[in-house]
Subunit: 117 residues, 2 copies
DNA sequence: GACATCGGTAAGTGATAACTTACCGATGTC
DNA sequence: GACATCGGTAAGTTATCACTTACCGATGTC
């Protein structure tokens, strides 16, 4: 229950600007919490909390390194997000084509009784 | 200024579960506001507000149809999101590989002076 | 062992945004 | 024109969540 690795979690996690910022920082390589916080306009505890969310969404992983704790990106969550987005994309394209199609088929001159239900 | 079509907006827009629900409904084809609301546990005005956000993020478009207003998915915003995610994905993979690499290279037995700064 | 650094957690606060009901203009039907 | 339907907007409430400071345990250094 605590491990679902859903795209939902990834969407929610990356729905916050600060969290996206944190995530993007990690694309350069693993960083400690303090380093991350130094690059952001928020406090270190705030970063810790964001990292927890990202971790739960399987977007990052961490490992101890002495007193520090190094965080790094993790493909798992992103993969789920990518797959979901791919589906969205395909469906969107077909829905878009279909809509454009019916739009074209439908008479453009105003039809009085036109209320497709 | 009101039209940027950023991936940021798309991330923020799809960061809300209800909005994702709305967006997914539209994958089946264009729908009126009332129809959408009927499928959701929220009121119609709430749906209207969500649709506005989705519209600003270029994720949906609308057109009048008599008294109704039909909303449909729009590839534009999704495209921006997809591109951004693609970048994230590539960077994540290389960062991941790099991290795994340095992890492997680094001696696994505890080194005393190990504090890479 | 004393001391410093790092980071997670607790507790509290403030802003935001998701929701509600009420209202109103626009369109279509009779 | 009267009436109904649909949907956007205004205004207000509430819950959520991002953030703060304070505290504490863990690890490393001397």
């Amino acid at each position: 229950m605590t491990s679902a690795a859903t795209a939902e979690q990834a969407f929610d996690a990356l729905g916050d600007p600060t969290r996206r910022h944190v995530f993007r920082l990690l694309r350069d390589g693993e960083r400690s919490v303090g380093e991350i916080a130094a690059h952001l306009p928020v406090s270190r505890p705030a970063v810790s909390q964001h990292l927890r969310v990202l971790k739960e969404a399987k977007l990052v992983s961490d490992r101890p390194d002495g007193v520090r704790r190094l965080y790094s990106v993790r493909p798992t969550g992103l993969e789920a997000l990518r797959a979901e987005l791919e589906t969205m994309w395909d469906d969107a394209l077909s829905a878009f084509a279909e809509a454009a199609d019916s739009e074209r088929t439908r008479d453009h001159r105003r039809q009085p009784g036109r209320s497709n239900r």
